[in-house]
């Protein structure tokens, strides 16, 4: 048969692109385990006997084990398996026994799927079965992937992603993480998804041409919005429940409801897309060459050429090919059968049967075809699959499946493995490095080295598996892996070197430090490359799906042991080959992993590898009795719903504990079939399978995917027989569950009352707010870390909850760094426009827009840069805002004029710090407070100060109490510190050389310098070392008092000066300073230590409450590095690099604002009484120091040298001859310090000459 051969050839080619492991069925005899699994599967209620099934399978299935089929496959196929979060059923699948009764065995639940069902996939077992949740019903169970194809389309992708996200959130919520649900933000993604979807389909507004022209789309659209509104309502309800602190039980039910609503919404969107693709698009779009892009592989073509096939199978394939080609003998047979069936059905429901054709294999292309320009997405195979053997040896999981909730983690998932392997590697290598930095005993060394190497190997093995699994063979990962491998080799080599060295030497326990260093170096670079490798591996996992890791035997590491210390040469030579040797070890020797029976989060898979995938239904089954095709009487009515999608919470809830999803009551009228009800949908559909077969042979070309058929039937409205999950807008359904609401009679009623529905739909359209939620990035803590301006503005004016205070603060403070006032104003106005004026959303958002303007004008207005926006704001206030909210418009208009009048300073004192501290504007001494301590100043002291002012006498710091001096300094400092405006700290304003606006920051640094100079000056002024020592003592006391007052700025200045070279070198003076004082000074030095990034100082500041004057320099450095070390933009996370959008890196601004907030949190005036006389005197002293040309460091140093010349003896003792030889030529012009300079010079010469001498 030439045709047959042709077909076979094609099949071979296609086999590479297969969606799932196909035809991997074993003959009954070969797989006793399979038989047992079926026994388990069978239900007492099953109508088809257990034994009949193997029989039927033997008829259709070739005796192929997964292994043999794999062997036949050529190595490294070009196919690119990608893990798909969503599948769409391509065939009906109604297992003979859906469930064994839930109570006895929950694990083997297979979920019946109908053609067109969309499934959220949680994991995929290597045998091709997937653990998935049906969106149509919320039922969760195992389903054959070969019945499905990937569902992913740019139009609906956002929505699907949002659904996945929601699912994960709910799963987290079930384990107690409910915080997220107290805000409504989490449904925003869904809204944005719907919006994006409608936008892409050009059905965003009711008036769009497409919607007007197409009745079906109009209805679908209405329904979609109804679903959305219902979802939002549920979310709101949940939010209220949580806020009212009710018991957690109803929350779980609401979570269920939430998910079901979301499912329903997406299901409808999917159908919408079907109609759109089929009809609407063909009206307005040119499908062009979409037909050429048809995905090549119908699942049933997957016949392994290398394997031995049973005649029946061949025959079947033959049939398949024939029916598609339409020229085989069997066609007549097929059509004959089919026609018979068809006529049976056609009599009663001809229209419907035509509408719901079951596709034959090849017609699959029509699905792709139905969605233009997306065929590429359809073409990619579903699963990480048949490349090498290793590829399918484990279950693939959705990456998010691993979840954030800690309790639910599966240790075996590769992502987890990767993490643990990396952690343990870091642990070992950390101790390895640590050990080498300290003591080295060769035993310990050997041990840690081995441990590190083993850990590294394990990590490599995981990475290797990831790489193996990924059909694209990520080059980046490969490079990273090779790099890491090279590093490991170096490490091993270094170890070996060391050991051979130690062997050569006599003492075994002596380890050469040089070798140790090499080891550490090798280890460090190993750590680095491991980090890189892990990052790469993660991104690959994200793409291909998480999967379960096979334990790789430690055989690898054992070889490592051999390497160390032994036969170094040989091993080194062989080593690079290691990674490739890894592979066979995994593949050949490992049996397929035991099915994941112990999963807590999914119904464990008892269908082991031996459980074959069901055969793809064929157009013309030879078995007319239909056993093979399983038109099966439903076994357990409750099965689909019983398999709660909440199965993540525990295993599966026992039936009596089942929450809301009620069992659908058998509906007396079979008109409204609930698809969620297994009972109702099984029968008619299974009948239709045959009818489809018939129609296929009749009309191959006009074949429509059944989903489309369904919707088409809606359009024409001839039949009430709904075959789809939901075809009517569900605006008003109040039923608790999806099951109840779908296809309920009441909805059909509501559909009838068109007018009311129209009105309702009109209102609901507002639900579909324009949103930029997809342009927002949040970090792990839920804080906004990036976003486009519209997205940030949206966050600022969200209607659901009061915006995060820190966010708002940051925004006001920093927006000028990433946008202009004009842009912001325009963006706010746009937000006002697009949100509309609905009561529920529009009005609150509009009020918030007004509030943002108000807050801006009142408290955050910077005339210089913001006045450009005044025009826009005024126009807005007097125009749109006044029209919508007259009062607000008036107020805003007033504010705009006020802002222009008031120059400098905010209209209303702002509360910039999120800590909500009081403003800066208060005067330092508000009133004669009782708490203010009395100044420690005597009459005579005041008199002395007066006399000093009049020039009659001199005062010294020794004349006053150290505490009072510290207080007065603190008051002066505090005044400046509290005046620092946040604007001074933005964008390195204070570092600007010309025209810096950071006047207060500048003044702070000047004051700090002045104080330090004053300290030096007072000390160096005195000739007598004793007197100098007394002054030093006084300053130390003042410093201690500053510390008591938590005035770190003054403290730093004083300590700096006491620590400076000019003071510190006065050895004679220091000898006279009491030991006690020196000890206190040492304590202070520890506090002001700049090491470890001011660790001590930072720690202390954390414990302080205002008032306090921190050392401003820390903040300035932090702000500088935040500015320099963080980019201005960041990229939106996206699938492909090409269309990733760069948005504002708000994280950077948050960091900036956080630092400024810390600074501000201390901006509280001290409750201290000023002594004006003393402050005046201090000012005077500072002025004096500043005015004297002595104030620079060099002159102080000279003075210091003058007072206590360099100690000659040391120099002389060290190298006496040099004194004479070098000193003659140059002398300072300054005669005063001539001798000292000479000494200095000589000292210099000494060192220089000395070193020169050494180098020669």
């Amino acid at each position: 048969m030439a045709d047959y051969m042709l077909e076979r050839e094609e099949t071979d080619k296609r086999a590479s692109a297969l969606v799932a492991p196909l035809n991997i069925q074993k003959s009954p005899k070969r797989s006793p385990s399979r038989a047992s699994s079926h026994v388990r599967q069978s239900s007492s209620r099953g109508t088809i006997s257990i034994k009949s099934q193997p029989h039927s399978h033997s008829q259709i299935s070739p005796p192929l084990t997964p292994r043999t089929s794999r062997e036949g496959l050529p190595h490294r196929q070009p196919a690119q398996p990608v893990f798909h979060n969503y599948l769409r059923a391509f065939y009906h699948f109604h297992p003979t026994s859906t469930v064994s009764s839930a109570s006895t065995d929950e694990s083997s639940i297979t979920v019946p799927i109908n053609q067109g069902d969309v499934i959220l996939v949680h994991s995929v077992h290597p045998n091709g079965w997937a653990d998935g949740t049906l969106l149509a019903s919320g039922a969760r169970g195992w389903l054959p992937t070969n019945y499905c194809e990937a569902y992913d389309h740019a139009t609906i992708r956002n929505l699907l992603n949002a659904l996945t996200h929601l699912w994960d959130l709910v799963r987290d919520g079930e384990s107690g993480h409910l915080v997220v649900f107290t805000k409504q933000d989490y449904v925003r993604g869904m809204i944005a998804g719907v919006r994006f979807f409608l936008e892409r389909t050009q059905c965003l507004t009711r008036d769009s041409a497409l919607v007007l022209a197409h009745v079906g789309l109009r209805r679908m659209r209405k329904g979609l919005l109804g679903d959305l509104s219902s979802l939002v309502k549920t979310a709101k309800k949940l939010q209220e429940t949580l806020q009212s602190n009710q018991a957690p039980v109803p929350v779980f039910e609401q979570l269920d409801e939430l998910v079901l609503k979301a499912f329903k919404l997406v299901t409808r969107a999917v159908r919408f897309l079907d109609i759109w693709a089929q009809d609407a698009v063909s009206l307005s779009f040119d499908l062009g060459d979409a037909t050429n892009n048809r995905p090549p592989t119908p699942p049933s073509d997957a016949v392994d050429p290398a394997s031995v096939q049973q005649p029946t199978t061949t025959n079947q394939n033959d049939h398949g090919a024939a029916s598609a080609n339409g020229d085989d003998v069997s066609v007549s047979q097929t059509s004959a059968t089919a026609t018979a069936t068809a006529t049976a059905t056609a009599t009663t429901e001809e229209l419907n049967s035509v509408a719901t054709h079951q596709p034959p294999r090849n017609v699959r292309s029509s699905v792709a075809f139905s969605i233009p320009s997306e065929s590429d997405a359809m073409q990619s195979p579903l699963l990480p699959q048949p490349q090498g053997q290793a590829n399918r040896s484990s279950v693939a999981h959705r990456l998010s499946y691993t979840g954030k909730s800690h309790g639910l983690r599966n240790q075996d998932l590769v992502s987890e493995r990767l993490n643990t392997a990396h952690d343990s590697f870091l642990g070992f290598i950390g101790s390895f490095i640590g050990l080498h930095l300290q003591s080295r005993s060769s035993n310990e060394l050997t041990f840690t080295t081995q441990q590190s190497v083993i850990a590294c190997r394990q990590l490599l093995a995981v990475v290797e598996q990831v790489w193996e699994r990924d059909a694209r063979r990520s080059e980046q990962l490969e490079q990273a892996r090779d790099m890491m491998y090279a590093r490991l080799t170096e490490l091993v080599q270094a170890t070996k070197d060391m050991f051979s060295a130690s062997d050569a030497s006599l003492g075994d326990d002596v380890v050469m430090p040089e070798a140790g260093k090499q080891l550490v170096a090798a280890a460090t670079s190993c750590v680095r490359s491991a980090g890189d490798c892990v990052t790469r591996a993660r991104s690959v996992i994200e793409r291909i799906g998480d999967f379960e890791f096979e334990t790789v035997g430690l055989g690898l590491s054992e070889t490592m042991f051999e390497q160390i210390g032994q036969d170094a040469q040989r091993e080194t030579a062989e080593e690079p080959a290691q990674p490739t040797r890894l592979e066979p070890a995994i593949e050949t020797e490992k049996p397929l992993p035991a099915p994941p029976t112990a999963h807590r989060q999914l119904p464990p898979l008892i269908i082991s590898e031996s459980k074959p995938l069901p055969e793809i239904p064929l157009p013309s089954p030879p078995e007319q009795d239909g056993v093979g095709l399983q038109p099966v009487v439903p076994v357990a009515v409750d099965s689909p719903t019983a398999v709660s999608f909440r199965s993540s919470r525990s295993s599966l809830p026992p039936p009596n504990h089942l929450p809301t999803p009620h069992l659908p009551q058998p509906n007396p009228s079979d008109h409204s079939q609930s698809p969620a009800s297994a009972t109702q949908r099984f029968f008619p559909k299974s009948v239709r399978i045959d009818s489809v077969n018939a129609s296929v042979t009749d009309s191959n070309s006009t074949f429509r995917y059944s989903m489309r058929g369904d919707t088409a039937s809606i359009i024409s409205q001839p039949s009430t027989r709904a075959t789809t999950p939901d075809r009517s807008p569900a605006k008003k359904h109040s039923s608790q569950t999806l099951v109840g609401s779908f296809g309920s009679v009441s909805e059909l009623h509501s559909l009838a009352s068109e007018d009311a529905a129209d009105a309702a739909a009109a209102a609901e359209e507002h639900l579909l707010e324009t949103t930029y939620a997809h342009e927002l990035i949040c970090n792990k803590d839920g804080q906004v870390s990036g976003g486009s301006l519209p997205a940030l503005v949206e966050q600022l004016t969200t209607h659901e909850a009061t915006p995060d205070a820190m966010f708002v603060t940051t925004f006001y403070l920093t927006f000028r760094l990433f946008t202009t006032a004009t842009e912001l104003a325009q963006c706010l106005v746009d937000r006002f426009d697009y949100i509309g004026d609905t009561q529920a959303i529009g009005v609150p958002v509009r009020l918030r827009v007004y509030n943002v303007f108000k807050g801006w004008l009142e408290s955050h207005w910077v005339g210089e840069s913001d006045s450009a926006a005044l025009g826009i704001i005024l126009t807005f206030a007097t125009g749109k805002l006044r029209a919508a909210l007259p009062g607000a418009g008036k107020r805003l208009a007033e504010l705009t004029s006020k802002v222009t009048e008031v120059r400098g300073g905010a209209l209303v004192p702002r509360l910039v710090s999120s800590l909500g501290k009081t403003g800066v504007s208060n005067t330092i001494f508000t009133a004669a407070d009782t708490n203010v301590p009395n100044p420690i100043v005597s009459k005579s002291q005041l008199n002395a100060l007066k006399a000093n002012k009049e020039g009659k006498a001199q005062c010294s710091i020794l004349d006053f109490d150290p505490l009072e001096l510290a207080r007065q300094f603190t008051i002066i400092e505090s005044k400046l510190y509290c005046s620092i405006q946040p604007e001074e700290l933005l964008a390195l304003e204070w570092t600007k050389k010309n025209g810096s606006k950071a006047v207060n920051v500048r003044a702070m640094s000047t004051l700090s310098n002045d104080l330090a100079n004053l300290v030096a000056d007072t000390i160096l002024l005195l000739e007598d070392p004793k007197k100098r020592a007394v002054i030093i003592k006084q300053w130390v006391k003042i410093a201690l008092k500053c510390l008591e007052l938590t005035n770190y700025d003054s403290l730093m200045a004083i300590i700096c000066s006491l620590n400076s070279s000019m003071v510190l070198r006065l050895k004679r003076t220091w000898e006279l300073v009491p030991a006690k004082i020196k000890a206190r000074l040492e304590e202070l030095k520890v506090i002001t230590d700049v090491g470890r990034n001011y660790a001590v100082l930072r720690q202390r500041l954390q414990d302080h409450v205002a008032p306090c004057i921190p050392f401003v320099g820390i903040y300035l450095t932090d702000l500088t590095f935040v500015d320099v070390g963080n980019g201005t933009t960041r990229q939106l996370p996206g699938e492909d690099g090409s269309d990733r959008l760069s948005v504002i890196n708000f994280d950077k601004h948050m960091k900036t604002a956080k630092i400024i907030g810390q600074l501000q949190s201390f901006q509280v005036p001290y409750r201290l009484a000023a002594v004006p006389e003393m402050q005046e005197w201090m000012e005077l002293q500072i002025q004096r120091v500043r005015a004297s040309d002595q104030s620079n460091v060099q002159s102080y140093y000279r003075r210091s040298l003058l007072l206590e010349p360099r100690e000659v003896p040391q120099v002389v003792k060290a190298s006496p001859p040099l004194m004479d030889s070098g000193a003659q030529s140059t002398f300072s012009a300054d005669s005063r310090i001539l001798s000292k300079d000479k000494f200095e010079f000589l000292g210099f010469q000494f060192h220089h000459a000395n070193s020169k001498d050494r180098s020669i």
Partner: protein, 204 residues
Amino acid sequence: MAQREYHIVVLGSGGVGKSCLTAQFVQNVWIESYDPTIEDSYRKAIDVDGRHVILEILDTAGTEQFTAMRELYMKTGQGFLLVFSITSMSSLYELTELREQIRRIKEDDHVPLVLVGNKSDLEEDRAVPRPRAFKISQDWGDVPYYETSARRRANVDEVFTDLCRQIINKDQREYDRRPAKTKKGPKNRRGRGQREHRIHCTIL
């Protein structure tokens, strides 16, 4: 060796991009968000000639106006990066004073130093001719001179490595001197160190 942790101080007037240099050096490439407020923000382990050392970098960028604080910073340093911008002659001149201060506070004329002309990517705005800067570095006692571009991450690691090498060599010299003054080892080490410096002077 007694000490494997070395303290490096980065100095230079404001606006020469020294913080950028430090951030580039310290930052891990795969960290998306840089937080300078934690203790380890300025620590980095590097390998210099097969030695594993930890560098703690003190860069007080932003506090240039707190001139009185300088000595406090300098006290902690074992090696210094003196950074200027090749687009500003004054930024080079200001380093002279800083170097004097370092010599004073360290009471040592051979403190490990590297002179760094940053912003080499802004060649069109160059205000400091290369020979000029090189001359100064020679006058300072054969101090290595590098031109870097923190923005393009050019020569960043090299600068730190060179400085670190100097510190290690110095450390080694002092270490060797202590047990026996007649040791011959240090001579060679030093000689090698100096030669290396000369070579590096021309690297851009």
